[in-house]
């Protein structure tokens, strides 16, 4: 279907009934119904997954890495998103979850909360060193980066040029593991465990580097049944392991999957945390209008409540959030990081983007400005003649978008089933 598409979401044509749920849910108006099936317009889609959330027929697939594909690697390393820690029963400790990942087939599991704390500390240094312009915007959510490239190209320069924890975690492992394991780099698969499909886009088509350090992203949803079974089979050995916890968690990094979690450690800066794709768009509009200049750092997460609300998580986000909050509370402000080590990594640009985020604006009305203006006029005339019911029956999400499609040549006024009827 969308095999050659750059996106992580695609319509399952067998399941799609051509209704309008995804059409109206899409915040970038990237979906049309054509020949009774939904179709995602590549150049407009930002992989926010609202369509996955709203489809009542489970007809939007996400193209994350299938678990079985990992067999190709001689040595499999898991880097689970911290959102995973909220997915299982109340008393399930993060350490048990990491050990369950090992039991289902990963050779090694690395914990990300420490690297989340490292990221916070790096952002702290960056914000202190770069006073202007403001506000700076986090690059952690790959959908926000796409959204800025496409819809807010003038804000590209505000993105803090520090890779997200999953990437520099993989970078560190890529640099160290082959030597330790005596394996060739390509034999080692470094895999993110993700609550969202957008990560696979940031791996396959990274915005700030030539090639991602990660080899794939498996969804929490796909691993959940096996992990659940593995967690039930707690044996004596794994109980004993709790007495010698193999992993040190960072209190500051554990809450990263919750909105505001990323910025909790930024005590020296004025921060604002936004969650949800529509609110993110609203706030970015304000930034573009010159507002929020008194804010140092803007954390935007397009999923509701943060990554914990990702569409490929299993547990409802309220319960998951409550569990993670308890884990954060239990861990307190415990830090897992040596600040001087961080400074040296930061100074060496080890954590930085390879290149800046560059604009990738949505298609213009016309390459020629004079003709673009003509088309804008024509579009407005057409829009006025349309009924304004935004019913979606024509296949576009609303009348304005139909008018837009008409002037761009991909739709016809007759597509409107109400056309000709007097606009009320």
């Amino acid at each position: 279907m969308s095999r050659e598409s750059r996106h992580a979401v695609g319509i399952n044509r067998e399941k799609c009934v051509g209704c309008v749920h995804c059409l109206t849910a899409c915040p970038t108006r990237a979906i049309r119904i054509r020949d009774d099936k939904a179709q995602i317009l590549d150049e407009l889609c930002i992989d926010c997954s609202e369509c996955i959330r709203f489809c009542p027929h489970d007809a939007v697939d996400s193209h994350t890495t299938p678990f079985a594909e990992l067999r190709a690697f001689a040595y499999k390393v898991a880097l689970p998103a911290t959102a995973l820690y909220g997915q299982f029963g109340n008393d399930t400790r993060p350490n048990e979850i990491l050990s369950a990942l090992r039991r289902i087939g990963f050779d090694q599991v690395f914990e990300l909360s420490t690297l989340c704390e490292l990221h916070t500390a790096a952002v702290d240094e960056f914000l202190t060193a770069h006073r202007l312009p403001r506000p700076r915007i986090s690059s952690t959510c790959p959908v926000v980066v796409r959204l800025i490239q496409k819809r807010f190209p003038s804000l590209c320069d505000l993105i803090v040029p520090i890779e997200p924890p999953r990437e520099f975690a993989a970078k560190i492992l890529r640099a160290t593991l082959p030597g330790i394991l005596k394996l060739r780099p390509e034999e080692i698969g470094i895999i993110h465990i993700t609550p969202c499909p957008a990560k696979i886009v940031s791996i396959n088509h990274p915005a700030t580097m030539a090639k991602s350090y990660l080899d794939g992203a498996v969804s929490i949803r796909d691993l959940y049944p096996a992990l659940r079974t593995a967690l039930k089979e707690i044996d004596e050995k794994s109980l004993m392991r709790h007495l010698f916890p193999e992993t040190v968690f960072s209190g500051l990094g554990l809450g990263w999957s919750l909105s505001g979690g990323e910025t909790r450690g930024l005590k020296n800066h004025r921060i604002v945390a936004v969650a949800g794709v529509r609110d993110t768009i609203r706030v970015l509009d304000q930034v573009e209008a010159g507002l929020l200049k008194d804010v140092d750092y803007l954390e935007c997460m397009v999923c509701p409540d943060g990554c914990v609300g990702g569409p490929l998580a299993v547990e409802n986000r309220f319960v998951a959030k409550s569990r993670i909050q308890r884990q954060v509370h239990a861990a307190g402000e415990r830090t897992a990081l040596d600040r001087t080590e961080l400074s040296s990594l930061y100074q060496k640009d080890f954590l930085s983007f390879q290149h800046a985020v560059v604009p990738d604006p949505v298609p213009l009305l016309d390459a020629d400005p004079a003709r673009a203006i003509e088309k804008a006029k024509l579009r407005e005339e057409i829009r006025r003649r349309l009924p304004g019911k935004d019913c979606g029956a024509c296949g576009a999400p609303d009348c304005r978008t139909l008018a837009d499609d008409i002037v761009r040549g991909s739709a016809h006024p007759d597509d409107c089933p109400l056309a000709g009827k007097e606009k009320k």
Partner: protein, 147 residues
């Protein structure tokens, strides 16, 4: 058609409606993005149009934003029915503001609005009749692009 090549649209702006503040400038901004206005010019337009819209929302009962886009420039005329500006020279001074405590609580009224608009516009014409209303005309050139 050949003569009238400009895109024109009038947007009503409702005074006192802080919850919709920025909606009109956002519509204008999105239109200009689709026409291909380059990012640095777009930012100036976004800032100037937002501030001008805010002035109507903060002080006037109602007003309109009249947008004219040609391949050469974007022109915006904001006219409102409001208290007017008794002393324009004073109003143009940075830091001068007649904003109420309530507006300041909302983060407005730093006295930078009009100077900020002027800074970002290539043409800036402000006329006012106290007690009647204000008319602000701004234009930003879309230079450096061939037709």
């Amino acid at each position: 058609m050949a003569k009238e090549r400009a895109f024109r649209q009038a947007f009503p702006v409702k005074g006192g409606d802080f919850s919709r503040a920025g909606d009109v400038s956002c519509l204008i901004k999105n239109l200009l993005k689709e026409i291909g206005v380059p990012a640095p010019i777009l930012r100036r337009l976004a800032i100037a149009s937002y501030e001008a819209e805010m002035n109507i929302i903060m002080y006037a009962a109602e007003g309109t934003a009249d947008l004219t886009v040609t391949p050469d420039e974007v022109r915006l005329v904001y006219s409102d029915r409001g208290p007017g500006i008794p002393d324009i020279t004073l109003a143009m001074r940075e830091g001068y503001s007649t904003a109420t405590a309530e507006m300041r609580e909302l983060g407005f009224g730093a006295g930078m609005g009009l100077p900020n608009i002027k800074k970002n516009a290539d043409t800036f014409l402000l006329a006012s009749e106290p007690g009647r209303g204000t008319r602000l005309e701004i234009a930003i050139r879309l230079n450096g692009r061939q037709l």
